[in-house]
């Protein structure tokens, strides 16, 4: 089983990073202006052809521009300007979304500044440029050096400042052997000396990949994006046919339409809202992950996260706090609980381990055992501490008149026997019971003057993290099964799984078991997410649909996973799933909104086109918004269509608010907001715009 190392994490560093990229700040109206030049650069047709919807608008804009030049009129000019605005707004959304990543990439790039490496060739150091290092080269890094490339520590141990990559200011330990060998290029050694074997070619290091990712340089369309694009393209074709075929119909009716009107109708109908914001939504989704210090190696992985149906969680560090904590004190026959507690407290004073500290907290805590123990503090100060050692497997305190010990049952019982005390069968039974339940029993004994005696047992157990039960209940509501992976025996595992509210567990798990479990789940059509950090996690990480490697883990693990969590916080898997879902929901909501908008636009444009023709006057009844004139109606619809893009940029960057609830409730809510909302909003919006537009000379 792998162990998960959870580094101490000052929340401050993370909070700063999060704040600097907070959505409110990143999208200020000012951003619309500053990103304008970039948006105009994006008008390049070679780039725009990748977005069928907006490319159609671009062609429409060119057509109306040509018409304007041939037959200028106020109406045609206004329509043309707003069509161009529609295209520019779409590019603006993308530019703003990309801008947030670019700022982050620049910060990362500064860490990659030209470095030299002290290469170790045949035992001798030579200084070479970092860019010339190859895989397998050995380099020496000492305090103050920047590590020149990704690699594994093969010799020595050092504390490393990884803040350049993780934003995390507390140094971490990197050492040869074990699961903490990986070092990242661009990080700085703070103390000691290590020898690193380079594992990545220059240009393909973690930092390089990270920069490319946050910049979205090699952003590829995800399967869902491709699917949605296909749907949007076919809707566009559908409406193109509807508009093109309308001309002969209109001619028969006696009212052939001008180019700007037909283009305006087309642009209003095709799903420009989602078409304009689709790439911004994708970029922003990746960005949300980056802001939570998770690097997704591909957008595909983010999307897969939303589909996850099984979540594999390591027990230690994810479900439980990782360290065992005092849970109860169980006195032997004839011993007062307070007496046992005070002895345990004294014996743990010198014990700096998390277990020892938890005993101190537990026994000194007023609610648990009021009175007694606190009084012992004074005497403790006078005593001689006996620290824990692997040989004695006990710790304790020697006072002038009294010695107390606590430790592993066998060690303490031996100590009692050596000091002339008798074994207590009642205590032995308690010890066995606690062990069988998966807890850790620590026996407490004292020697008061001559003979020693056993006072009782402190029950240490894994403590489930607060709030997890609710979290898992939410996941269940979302249809996600949670499975705990642990090296513990099945009985312990069952107890913890029950306490944490997990759906299932895999006890006494070997890496192979884990891999088999993932395969089994996948064969049943499920998608699996997991976290891991050890080299032996690598196959499972690679097999999982979403494998999140801890940044503290080995390079093999980081290579195998499709995401890296820079904070090395396994609980974050849950957030990753939520971000994945949010991404899809945002796309779906905008698509629905976009299509629902069309109804109102028809009611604006169709009567404007035909109600003036003899025999078709009845169509005036469709002008239910009471728009001032045919021209103002069409302009209002086009203006609304363009402005709605700008209005929805913040939503596309922030994502639709996601709350854990079951699928049907969520769908009902989103249908109501974005479906019905999308139906009603444009009726109001177009009417309001018309109230302004009608004052433009030449419109009425």
């Amino acid at each position: 089983m792998s162990t998960t190392v959870t580094p101490v994490r000052p929340e401050q560093g993370r909070a700063d990073r999060a704040r600097s990229a907070a959505p409110g700040r990143a999208f200020a109206p000012r951003g619309l202006v500053t990103k304008l030049p970039e948006a105009l650069r994006k008008l390049d047709p070679r780039a725009m052809v990748r977005q069928p919807v907006m490319f159609t608008v671009l062609i429409g804009s060119v057509l109306t521009t040509a018409y304007c030049i041939a037959e200028p009129s106020v109406f045609a000019v206004v329509v043309t300007l707003w069509l161009w605005a529609t295209v520019v707004f779409a590019n603006l959304a993308e530019a703003i979304a990309e801008g947030r990543g670019k700022a982050q990439a620049d910060a990362l790039r500064s860490a990659r500044a030209e470095t030299t490496a002290r290469a170790l060739v045949d035992g001798a150091e030579t200084v070479v440029p970092a860019a010339r290092l190859g895989i397998g080269d050995l380099v020496v890094c000492e305090a103050g050096d920047v590590i020149p490339g990704d690699g594994d520590v093969v010799e020595g141990v050092a504390s490393v400042d990884e803040s350049a990559v993780t934003g995390e200011s507390a140094p971490v330990i990197r050492e040869s052997g074990g699961d903490r060998t990986a070092v990242t290029g661009g990080t700085r050694v703070l103390s000691d000396r290590i020898v690193v074997r380079i594992t990545a070619e220059p240009g393909t290091t973690f930092l390089d990949r990270m920069i490319a990712l946050v910049e979205g340089a090699d952003r590829q369309k995800t399967p869902n994006e491709i699917a949605l694009n296909a749907l949007l393209a076919s809707l566009t074709i559908c409406f193109l046919l509807a508009v093109v075929s309308l001309q002969p119909f209109a001619a028969w009716a006696g009212g052939p339409q001008s180019v700007p009107i037909l283009v305006a109708l087309l642009v209003c109908l095709i799903p420009t809202t989602i078409g304009a914001l689709l790439s911004a939504v994708g970029i922003a989704g990746m960005d949300r992950l980056v802001r939570r210090n998770v690097l997704a190696m591909s957008g595909r992985a983010v999307e897969a996260a939303g589909n996850i149906t099984t979540l594999l969680l390591d027990k230690t560090g994810t479900v439980t706090l990782g360290d065992r904590q005092a849970h109860a004190v169980l006195p032997a026959d004839g011993v007062a609980e307070a007496h046992l507690a005070s002895a345990a407290l004294l014996a743990s004073r010198a014990d700096g381990t998390p277990e020892g500290r938890s005993i101190v907290e537990f026994c000194a805590g007023p609610p648990a055992l009021p009175g007694g123990p606190a009084a012992e503090d004074a005497s403790a100060a006078a005593g001689e501490p006996v620290p824990f050692s692997a040989q004695t497997r006990m710790s304790g305190l020697d006072l002038p008149d009294r010695r107390v010990r606590k430790g592993a049952a066998s060690a303490v019982r031996r100590w009692v026997a050596e000091n002339g005390g008798a074994d207590d069968p009642g205590v032995a039974a308690v010890v066995d019971r606690i062990s069988a339940e998966g807890g850790t029993p620590l026996v407490v004994a004292e020697a008061d003057g001559g003979t020693a005696r056993v006072l009782g047992v402190v029950h240490l157990k894994d403590v489930v993290k607060a709030g997890l039960r609710e979290r898992f209940a939410q996941l269940r509501a979302m249809g996600i099964r949670t499975v705990m992976i642990t090296g513990d025996n099945p009985r312990t595992a069952a107890a913890i799984a029950e306490e944490a509210g997990l759906d299932d567990f895999l006890a006494e798990a070997t890496p192979q078991d884990k891999l088999d479990l993932i395969r089994r789940e996948q064969e049943g059509g499920r998608l699996v997410a997991m976290t891991g950090d050890g080299t032996n996690d690598a196959p499972a990480l690679a097999q999982a649909d979403v494998g999140v490697a801890m940044n503290t883990g080995t390079s093999a693990a980081k290579e195998a996973g499709n995401m890296v969590d820079l904070d090395s916080d396994p609980t974050k898997l849950i957030e990753i799933v939520e971000i994945g879902k949010q991404l899809l929901i945002t796309r779906g909501a905008l698509t629905t909104f976009s299509v629902a908008n069309d109804v109102a636009k028809y009611f604006a444009i169709i009567p404007a086109m035909f109600a003036a023709i003899g025999g078709y006057e009845g169509l005036a009844a469709l002008n239910i918004m009471g728009l001032a004139s045919p021209q103002s109606a069409i302009v209002s619809a086009v203006v609304f269509n363009a402005l709605v893009i700008v209005a929805l940029i913040p939503l596309s960057l922030r994502g639709v608010r996601y709350r854990a609830m079951n699928a049907e409730a969520m769908l009902r809510r989103n249908l109501l907001v974005y479906g019905v909302g999308g139906l009603v909003t444009p009726f109001i919006g177009i009417k309001l715009i018309d109230l302004v537009v009608m004052f433009i000379p030449g419109m009425v």
């Binding site: 949605l228 296909a230 509807a242 999307e303 249809g479 929901i585 025999g615 699928a663 249908l671």
Partner: protein
């Protein structure tokens, strides 16, 4: 008894019978398509044709079989019409013109039964019986086979085998269509529909004049025309002809025949899902509920529009009675019209051209929806399932999952096929109508060229009817021109077979997948919310595509 009471009784009788046969007949069809045993006659047929009935076909093989068989059908029918004067039972008929023969061949092979000819004046009895009636059986069975193949695609996992087309075809004909048709024909004869091999006979009327009364094997063709949602009448006047639809009871029975297979196929679907564990019977009911909701809305709308009528003449008559049989009355006409346009049948017992603008607009809309309410035999089911998957795609995104239906993911390949399917018929209708309206000769074919919106509706209706394989006519359009014969022929051909290509490819791609298990995070596809989404998706997609066209036709006419 007032017309309204009679109409309501007729409708409730119809729906009661449908409800009564829904479970047994639906389950029976499920057994037909899932059984492993072959009847002796079937086995003999397979041996003669060299077919291995137990070999499943890859989706592309299934498709090739569908297309090859249909091509053969078109050719055979074309030849039969062109040579009918030399064949037996010619009753003095000349060969059919090439463009009309092509149109009719495609029309019957494609389950459309658009008729630019007048049956009693153009087709020999042999052509009617061995050509048209046979195609009525075969084209219906082809539609059902394709629907069953799609259902298998949803059910099966990790395979691309969709069953055997020849077996599905043969079973559909021998076990479902033929037995019902045999019984149905007898009932029709009992109801007064003619059945003989006589040629036209001249009689002296009471008034002293003479009248030519046509005869023919009408009942046997009438029954499959309705049952297979084909719609091609023996006579030009179709089911309004007293020899085809003599009484209101017969007319009601015809509506029952029209609806029974498309409606009960949803039960077949649910049962096949439930038996295989891929879904539940409620999934089938949900599909029926979506179909039924739109059908009911349309029926109520059409009936209301026709009852209200318009203008003083119709007020005096009590309703818009022009073009309708007094034997049937207003409500039975509206019911028949809704059933025939909602099912791709196209048989008529009244003339849609004479409906009020809104009533006529609604029957037109039924076809534009893609014939899914409840649609043609088989084609209605697969059409609705494709729309359901489209709805699932939009809805699925909004719950944060890659959309899936019955655990099968709607990924890039699937959505492309779905989009192509949904795009095909609107494209054919709009392009066809657009070209027709741009041609100078078109106004001459219209009966109502002076009322421009109505004239336009006639052309729009013709292409909607052809591309969606309905086959009914707005009647006002003189469609026996080279342009309309060829154009509508192409619309029927592509409108029938392109969607089949996409739907079978979709079935193949679905069959390959291992379904994801249903969890709390799955969008339930058997509940009212899903039904509402499918209805809304169907109406909005069609509504948005055809709003301009409908505005210039029925809406402009009705609002003026």
């Amino acid at each position: 008894m007032s017309d309204i009471v009679a109409g309501l009784l007729q409708a409730s009788l119809l729906f009661s019978i449908l409800a009564a046969v829904y479970v047994p007949f639906g389950d029976f069809m499920a057994r037909v398509y899932t059984g492993t045993r072959h009847l002796r006659v079937e086995r003999a047929l397979y041996r003669v044709c060299g077919i291995d009935p137990d070999a499943d076909q890859h989706w592309s093989g299934y498709l090739r079989a569908v297309l090859a068989f249909s091509l053969l059908s078109v050719l055979a029918l074309y030849l039969l019409q062109r040579t009918q004067q030399w064949l037996p039972l010619a009753i003095g008929m000349a060969p059919v013109d090439p463009d009309q023969a092509w149109n009719t061949a495609v029309s019957f092979a494609a389950n459309t039964n658009w008729q630019s000819y007048s049956g009693e004046a153009a087709m020999s009895h042999l052509t009617q019986m061995a050509g048209l009636a046979v195609q009525n059986f075969l084209s219906a069975a082809v539609g059902m086979a394709v629907a069953v193949a799609l259902v298998r695609g949803l059910i099966r996992r990790r395979t691309e085998l969709l069953g055997n087309f020849w077996v599905d075809l043969v079973r559909g004909v021998f076990r479902i269509l033929l037995p019902i048709a045999a019984v149905g024909a007898l009932l029709l004869v009992a109801g007064g529909v003619v059945q003989n091999l006589a040629g036209p006979a001249e009689y002296a009327t009471v008034g002293g004049g003479t009248q030519v009364l046509p005869g023919g094997p009408v009942a046997s063709q009438e029954v499959i025309k309705e049952l297979g949602t084909n719609g091609g009448g023996f006579f030009n006047a179709n089911s309004a002809h007293p020899f085809e639809g003599p009484t209101a009871v017969v007319s009601l029975f015809q509506i029952l025949l029209i609806l029974v297979i498309p409606v009960c196929l949803t039960r077949t679907y649910g049962t096949m899902l439930a038996r295989s564990g891929a879904g539940t019977r409620r999934h089938g009911l949900a599909v029926l509920a979506a179909m039924g909701t739109i059908f009911t809305l349309s029926l109520v709308g059409t009936t209301a529009a026709e009852m209200a009528g318009g203008g003083s003449a119709t007020q005096a008559a009590g309703a818009a009675m022009e073009g309708k049989e007094v034997r049937f009355g207003e409500m039975l006409s509206a019911l028949f019209a809704t059933a025939t346009t909602g099912t791709s049948t196209g048989a008529v017992n009244s003339f849609h051209d004479s409906f009020t603008p809104f009533g006529g607009g609604l029957v037109l809309l039924n076809m534009l929806l893609g014939e899914v309410t409840p649609g043609g035999v088989g084609s209605g089911l697969y059409g609705m399932l494709v729309l359901a998957m489209l709805a699932v795609f939009l809805g699925g995104l909004m719950i944060g999952r890659t959309p899936e239906y019955l655990g099968k993911r709607i990924g890039p390949r699937e959505i492309k096929l779905i989009a192509l399917f949904v795009l095909t018929t609107p494209a054919l209708v709009l392009i066809g109508t657009g070209i027709a309206m741009a041609l100078p000769g078109t106004p001459g074919a219209m009966t109502n060229a002076d009322v421009r919106p109505h004239g336009f509706s006639e052309v729009l209706y013709a292409f909607a009817s052809g591309a969606n394989n309905n086959g009914s006519a707005f009647a006002g359009l003189g469609a026996d021109t080279a342009f309309f014969n060829t154009g509508i022929g192409l619309a029927m051909l592509f409108g029938r077979y392109l969607p089949m290509v996409f739907v079978l490819a979709l079935a193949g791609s679905l069959a390959q997948q291992q379904p994801a298990p249903a969890t709390g995070g799955t969008f339930p596809t058997h509940k009212p919310l899903f039904v509402a989404m499918v209805v809304a998706t169907t109406l909005i997609i069609t509504g948005l595509t055809f709003f301009p066209a409908l505005a210039l036709g029925p809406l402009a006419e009705g609002l003026s």
